[in-house]
């Protein structure tokens, strides 16, 4: 069932432009009314999402991911195009719509800085009209799943970034939203906290059918958790498909070789390679040549360890971005 439809959505922002004025009057005029330049931060974006999908929204800084998320959550209003999410117009039917969604913006906190996080949870529980019993039950449930039990009476200012992020997620999920938007939820988290949080989201997605749309710069998160990837560049969607398919666009493999002593330069001639550290080589080889490369290098007497792997999602996205720019 399709729960999100965006058709030809556009959003324009203005940014300061450099002034060309040379005369004093021109400079005064420029100071009083600084020149502005219009740029399309979202450019004709069309997108549809099915119920239960886990979508990764990817792209470089300034590609429009967060702005798209803000349009989808109703924070921003589109300049043109149609947007319907969970049967609602996000802005015109804000109250009914926001009752069904959860939103976490990693860089913007919704918790009260000086007050115990449980108080913030109760505030959001009353905003979402949960009864006292329902709220307590849900707080207990989420605290246990996210490991927040011992932190409930601490204010956010006394928590680490990872703990705070988990609290932000919990506050946004109290009302069991059907659709969750997350903007860089794993930003600055340590690997353990990151995995815990991502596993928790995956559990929500698989066991409760919650639809999740997440932006991230962490390709490992997207690779392992998001079945679908949407790549944005300069406000446009340049890829929309399965994450595994995205990887198949790359026609090369990565061969990693650890040796006891340096490899002969002649053996490496003709390969694109990188010496990661002493006696540790990373070699890029085309899919067609992979077998030959492996047999040529892997059986040298000084080779201690060999591994061959497909390119990472970083490579795949880089490839995509480069091909679009070209």
């Amino acid at each position: 069932m399709e729960i999100l439809q965006a058709n030809s959505v556009n959003k324009v922002f203005f940014r300061p432009a450099s002034s060309e004025a040379r005369t004093i009057s021109g400079k005064i005029k420029g100071w009083l009314s600084p020149p502005k330049q219009q740029f399309k931060v979202i450019d004709d974006v069309s997108l549809s999402v099915e119920k239960g999908e886990f979508v990764g929204l990817l792209g470089t800084n300034g590609s429009g991911k967060t702005t798209l998320l803000k349009l989808l959550t109703g924070i921003l209003q589109a300049d043109s195009g149609q947007l319907k999410v969970l049967g609602h117009h996000p802005v015109k039917e804000r109250k009914a719509y926001t009752q069904k969604i959860g939103a976490v913006f990693g860089q913007k906190s919704l918790l009260w800085w000086n007050v115990a996080i449980i108080e913030s949870f109760h505030l959001y529980a009353s905003i979402y009209k949960l009864s006292r019993t329902e709220a307590n039950q849900r707080i207990d449930e989420l605290s246990s799943l996210l490991g927040l039990e011992s932190l409930l009476t601490s204010p956010p200012k006394k928590l680490s970034l990872g703990q705070r992020m988990k609290a932000e997620v919990a506050a946004s999920l109290l009302h069991r939203p059907e659709l969750i938007f997350l903007d860089e939820p794993t930003i600055a988290l340590d690997p353990v906290s990151r995995l815990n949080l991502m596993n928790f989201l995956l559990q929500l997605n698989r066991e409760h059918g919650t639809t999740i749309i997440m932006t991230s710069h962490n390709m490992a998160d997207v690779h392992h958790y998001c079945q679908r990837s949407v790549i944005m560049n300069a406000g446009r969607v340049i890829y929309d498909g399965r994450t595994t398919e995205l990887l198949s666009y790359e026609h090369f493999k990565i061969l990693e070789i650890k040796t006891l002593s340096a490899l002969d330069e002649q053996l490496l001639a003709g390969f694109e390679y990188e010496l990661v550290e002493d006696n540790y080589y990373r070699i890029k080889t085309s899919n067609e040549q992979a077998k030959e490369t492996l047999s040529r290098l892997a059986f040298q007497p000084q080779v201690a360890d060999v591994s061959i792997s497909p390119p990472s999602l970083d490579h795949a996205i880089h490839h995509f971005m480069t091909s679009v720019r070209e």
Binding site: T73, I75, L76, T98, Q99, N114, I127, Y128
Partner: protein, 262 residues
């Protein structure tokens, strides 16, 4: 936003502010000393001159200072307007806009200084009782009703004016200096309006209605204000006009919101 959520916000706001308890106590002392100085000043001045300032005697001047505290209380309830430009610049309205609440109500409730408002009113009541012992205030019930109406309508008008200024942050970004500029006029509330030239009096009643929350209500209460019928209509007109402007600006402002940061 339902009343339960509103009170929950107030409760959070109170908890947030009372984290620093020493600030709480110091601010109580601050208001007492600050207002007390003005009362002592007027008392000493009129005592030295051994006369009244037109219709203003020592008692009505002391009342003028007390009435200023009422407006301060109302203003503290709407303190969110003062912090609005910072929130607009930092994109901090996001958290209200993606939740099923009225963003404006949540913003105001989150930043309301209810303890400061409550304290101002409490200080005002204590001072009133004390000063009544000294000056024995006398007034008619009908004047008291008009007095209350004038203060409430005047305070709301001024708060809505401040709200409109706050909303201009959606267009101009940082408008703190504009706030300071308008606030500098609020010093007029401590002085009897009739001391000033007619033109300035009209400005302080009908354009920037500082007089409506200070001198005018006191004169009404003391029975020395003549045109209370005209004033009543003017106050209603001003209040309605600013309310309409504020509602229109708020609707336009949300369309302008850029949600910067992050």
């Amino acid at each position: 936003m339902d009343i339960k959520v509103f009170f929950r916000y107030l409760q959070m706001s109170f908890k947030d502010l009372s984290v620093f308890r020493s600030d709480f106590v110091i601010s109580i002392l601050h208001i007492l000393i600050y207002q007390g100085i003005f009362i002592i000043f007027w008392d000493a001045l009129l005592g030295q001159l051994n006369t009244n300032l037109g219709v203003w005697d020592k008692g009505s001047l002391a009342l003028l200072i007390l009435v200023g505290l009422v407006f301060s209380s109302v203003r503290m309830l709407f303190f969110g307007f003062t912090t609005m430009s910072e929130k607009v610049i930092n994109g901090d309205l996001d958290k209200y806009l993606c939740r099923p609440i009225s963003p404006l109500m949540a913003l105001l409730a989150e930043d309301t200084k209810i303890w400061a408002a409550g304290h101002s009113l409490l200080t005002c009541s204590i001072l009133f009782v004390l000063l009544n012992e000294v000056y024995s205030f006398e007034f008619e019930a009908s004047n008291f009703v008009l007095f209350v109406f004038s203060i409430v309508a005047g305070s709301l008008t001024l708060v809505l004016m401040e709200g409109c200024i706050a909303l201009s942050a959606f267009w101009f970004g940082n408008i703190d200096k504009l706030f300071y500029l308008i606030n500098s006029f609020s010093d007029f509330q401590r002085y009897p309006i009739t001391l000033f030239p007619k033109l300035l009096q009209h400005f302080l009643i009908y354009v920037l209605p500082i007089g409506l929350v200070s001198s005018v209500p006191v004169m009404i209460l003391m029975g020395s204000y003549g045109n209370s019928g005209v004033l009543l209509l003017a106050q209603l007109g001003l209040l309605g006009g600013w309310l309409l402007l504020f509602c229109w600006l708020w609707r336009c402002a949300l369309r302008r919101y850029d949600s910067l940061g992050g």
